[in-house]
């Protein structure tokens, strides 16, 4: 059951926004007709496969492909040498700058392999078995190097260095030795020593989280075709077809306009499909072979060579007055970046204290490379990790003060007008309302039984806008097509159709949403950062508004009145000049004679949406722990979130429930396990345990609506926030149930048994 609290009056008289129509892509998805990345095929296509490193760190001395090339049925073989040399330079991709040389070397290694599973060479052959045989014939000579997987080991002065040319940035003094610590970042306010001196109670703890994968069901897959005239096409599952176009063009040294990327349906991404792995390789193979090439990762490859997010160490020290006022916070974050720089430690730092008004703090973050796969974005990148440490410490501090955890958080809560820990002043935020929603929820008063515990945690995410293009075209029967450039991951087709229908005055069933290829719609940043409903929705809304203005102009022409005498309501033009006695003109009636009033009816809007409102959430979790086995059962889970305005409440609830489910898995079961040789030991869903429906209770959601005044319908991003609080909410519940503060994730049965044994 879901509650929608405080639905605000907008004066908009909304008819479609806020309702729950069936999703337009639903039938194909539940009947198996939807075409995902691996479902697409072309006549004459070859099978592409990748040879991956068995070593986590090694110098490549030579790659001999002669025997493999001689194998009948082998049509192409590429290595890193087939990509043009790249300078180390950052360039705009799907949602910000990324180092194109690192991306290229992650697709195919040059000089060194940096993790178990790093791609070395690729083969295109006429069959899967021939491709496998060819991979086995590629002779690679390595100089195996010492490796390091854990973050603090990688930071040590005597650690094996991944890149001898890398010196830590962000320090006061320039270091004289290379390091795996890429950079240090700090945020500070006030006087930390004075703050702790004024504290009556201080808690201090060291927390750890393992690397975890985004866990999307659909593996990476693509088909690439390089024609003889240099025109390329790619069909791929990703979070951004324009991102694929940009990266492939740069990596291969071709014009972006020569690459057309068609987005397949996407079977989950969660941030993990915001970069390229296969697509440039498949294009290079296709160019060499003169035929289309299809590549599909195995699950083993997905785990070993894509994602995950960082494993981390979080050190937190908090001080408070006896009345519950937090006066000082010292937070240190050490995040794995994997093989190349770029962990999400910056947003980890910025979000760590984003829910609290703390006068004195120091937040220090380290971005650290190590011999594991390069991390990729994962919902609210970096925030769940820092929130795990901070929210655990806050829970402990509230307990020491004997305060109710909600009352303690409310006492220190940020509100409109308070400066965020990362600098800016908050406005139009709904954080306090989410805490109050949990306090008012019946869940908060359910009595607990033996071996049961209750945990609360909160979370924050910025949300972003960015560049989007959308078109609204009217069909001659009076229906409409909405075209956008964002893959539909979380129901965006439905929300785009609903916003267009709301403006046009059409039933939502008469608006068909389409996700177009890169040649058929203008640029859009990728689907990520909880930006699509906000930013692309703004483009859709403005395009629909332009269409309405055009429809009014045409009605005025038909009636021979001024446009100021035409009003648009409920999908029809109304003539305000009563003396003319004109019957209403429906959209269909105007569309039917569009040729006589100026031609086809449609509008395109391209914009860079600003004004995304930040989101907050508060999660409450009840668990029961079996003290004999250490098994944790989640009994009840309630998530309250400020969503601005829910365009389609059911999909917003789905986002909240999905984020909570992923966070619960992160808390209880998920982790990358490496053997002493630096090889992943659990690269499959049997051994990498993710929660399934039978592991979880129904996750109750409370949608708090504090509208974003910068969006036409008040929307805020909703997809990131719900994965921020669960790690700590679950850990706080488990800690309460067993009476031992749990510092290390996952809270697996052996770890809980060990904690119980300390009592």
């Amino acid at each position: 059951m879901t509650d929608v609290l405080d639905r605000p009056e907008t004066g908009l008289n909304l008819k479609v926004v806020g309702t729950r129509p069936d999703r337009p892509d639903g039938v194909d998805k539940v009947t198996g007709r939807a075409t995902y990345g691996a479902d697409f095929s072309m006549a004459g296509q070859l099978v592409g496969k990748i040879l991956r490193s068995p070593h986590p760190h090694a110098r490549i001395l030579s790659i001999d492909t002669r025997k493999a090339r001689a194998l009948p049925g082998v049509k192409a073989i590429v290595t890193g040498a087939d990509f043009p040399e790249q300078a180390s330079q950052e360039m705009e991709g799907g949602e910000g700058a990324a180092n194109i040389r690192d991306i290229a070397m992650n697709c195919l290694a040059r000089d060194k392999v940096l993790y178990d599973g790093h791609a070395l060479a690729a083969v295109a052959a006429t069959s899967s078995s021939i491709a496998d045989a060819a991979l086995a014939l590629i002779d690679i000579r390595y100089e195996v190097l010492p490796h390091v997987t854990e973050v603090e080991a990688a930071m040590a002065a005597d650690a094996p260095i991944l890149d001898e040319s890398r010196f830590t940035t962000g320090l006061e003094a320039k270091p004289d030795k290379p390091s795996n610590i890429v950079s240090r970042m700090q945020l500070k306010r006030g006087d930390l020593a004075e703050g702790f001196a004024a504290a009556d109670v201080i808690v201090e703890g060291r927390y750890t989280t393992p690397a975890v994968h985004q866990g999307y069901i659909e593996p990476h897959a693509c088909v690439a075709s390089w024609s003889a005239d240099g025109q390329c096409q790619v069909w791929a599952s990703s979070q951004g077809q324009f991102m694929i176009r940009t990266y492939c063009a740069k990596i291969l040294g071709v014009e972006a306009s020569d690459i057309r990327v068609t987005p397949a349906e996407i079977g989950g991404g969660f941030g993990g499909k915001t970069t390229v792995y296969l697509e440039p390789v498949a294009l290079a193979l296709s160019r060499q072979a003169g035929a289309p090439v299809k590549m599909v990762m195995t699950r083993d490859e997905v785990f070993r060579a894509t994602g995950p997010t960082s494993g981390a160490v979080i050190e937190v020290k908090l001080g408070a007055k006896s009345d519950g006022t937090i006066v000082a916070a010292d937070v240190v974050l050490k995040y794995q970046a994997g093989a190349f720089p770029g962990s999400p430690v910056a947003p980890g730092c910025m979000t760590a204290l984003a829910c609290y008004d703390v006068p004195n703090f120091l937040i220090t973050g380290y971005d650290v490379v190590n011999n594991t796969p390069k991390v990729a974005a994962y919902r609210a990148p970096g925030a769940p990790i820092s929130a795990f440490g901070v929210e655990s410490a806050v829970d402990e501090l509230a307990g020491k003060l004997g305060m109710d955890p909600i009352a303690f958080r409310l006492k220190n809560a940020v509100r409109d007008g308070v400066k965020a820990a990362y600098g800016p002043t908050y406005k139009n935020i709904g954080y306090v309302e989410t805490l109050e929603a949990i306090a008012d929820h019946p869940h908060y008063r359910v009595p607990l039984g033996p071996n049961q515990g209750r945990g609360l945690a909160v979370g924050f995410w910025f949300n972003v806008g960015g560049e989007s293009t959308a078109a609204v075209n009217i069909v001659d029967d009076g229906s409409a097509v909405v075209i956008s450039g964002n893959p539909d991951i979380g129901g965006s087709r439905a929300s785009m159709a609903m916003m267009a229908a709301e403006v046009l005055g059409l039933p939502v069933e008469r608006v068909r949403p389409i996700v177009a290829d890169t040649a058929s719609i203008g640029f859009s940043m990728l689907t990520g950062g909880s930006r699509t409903t906000f930013a692309t929705g703004m483009a859709v809304t403005q395009a629909a508004q332009k269409v309405v203005e055009d429809l009014k102009r045409r009605a005025a022409e038909i009636w021979d009145v001024g446009i100021d005498q035409v009003e648009w309501a409920n999908g029809s033009a109304l003539c305000l000049d009563a003396a003319r006695n004109k019957p209403d003109l429906t959209l269909a009636a105007i569309a039917a004679q569009s040729g006589k009033t100026g031609g086809p009816i449609g509008a395109t809007v391209a914009l860079n949406a600003q004004g995304a409102g930040p989101g907050f959430g508060a999660h409450l979790c009840d668990v029961e722990v079996d003290p004999e086995t250490g098994r944790v059962t989640v009994l009840r889970y309630t998530a309250a979130q400020d969503v601005g305005r829910a365009i389609h409440p059911a999909y917003v609830e789905g986002q909240v429930q999905g984020g909570a489910a992923q966070g619960i898995g992160w808390a209880l079961n998920e982790e990358y396990v490496f053997d002493a040789g630096g090889r992943m030991e659990n690269a499959g869903f049997l051994d990498y345990r993710m929660p399934v429906a039978s592991d979880l209770p129904m996750i109750d959601t409370v949608l708090v609506e504090v509208p974003n005044p910068r969006h036409p319908f008040g929307a805020k991003g909703v997809g990131e926030v719900p994965i921020v609080p669960p790690l700590a909410a679950v850990a706080n519940a488990v800690s309460a149930a067993i009476g031992v503060r749990m510092h290390d994730l996952p809270l697996s049965p052996p770890r809980i048994r060990a904690a119980v044994d300390t009592l």
Binding site: G96, G170, P347, A377, A380, Y422, K427
Partner: protein, 82 residues
């Protein structure tokens, strides 16, 4: 004159450690240009790595946004997402 605060990121690499700057500028673009003139290389760094929060609202890649003498301006690391 708008005051700019660098919060996080590595702007100090270009500024000799300074994190607060008073800059006479009417738009974000002019602000970045003037910071780059004062601290060569900072402009490109801001363009590629930083977002700009103006009066509590985070902007990325918007040069035309107007500034006022009382604008609250923070340079913060660019934000992506999952």
């Amino acid at each position: 004159m708008p005051r700019v605060v660098a919060a996080g990121g590595e702007c100090q690499r270009f500024t000799g450690g300074a994190t607060t700057f008073d800059v006479e500028a009417a738009t974000v673009r002019r602000l970045i240009d003037k910071l780059d003139a004062r601290y060569p290389g900072l402009g490109e760094y801001i363009d590629k790595r930083m977002a700009i929060s103006i009066d509590g609202e985070i902007h990325q890649d918007v040069g035309a946004v107007a500034l006022t003498p009382t604008s609250e301006i923070y340079l913060i690391p660019r934000i992506g997402g999952g």
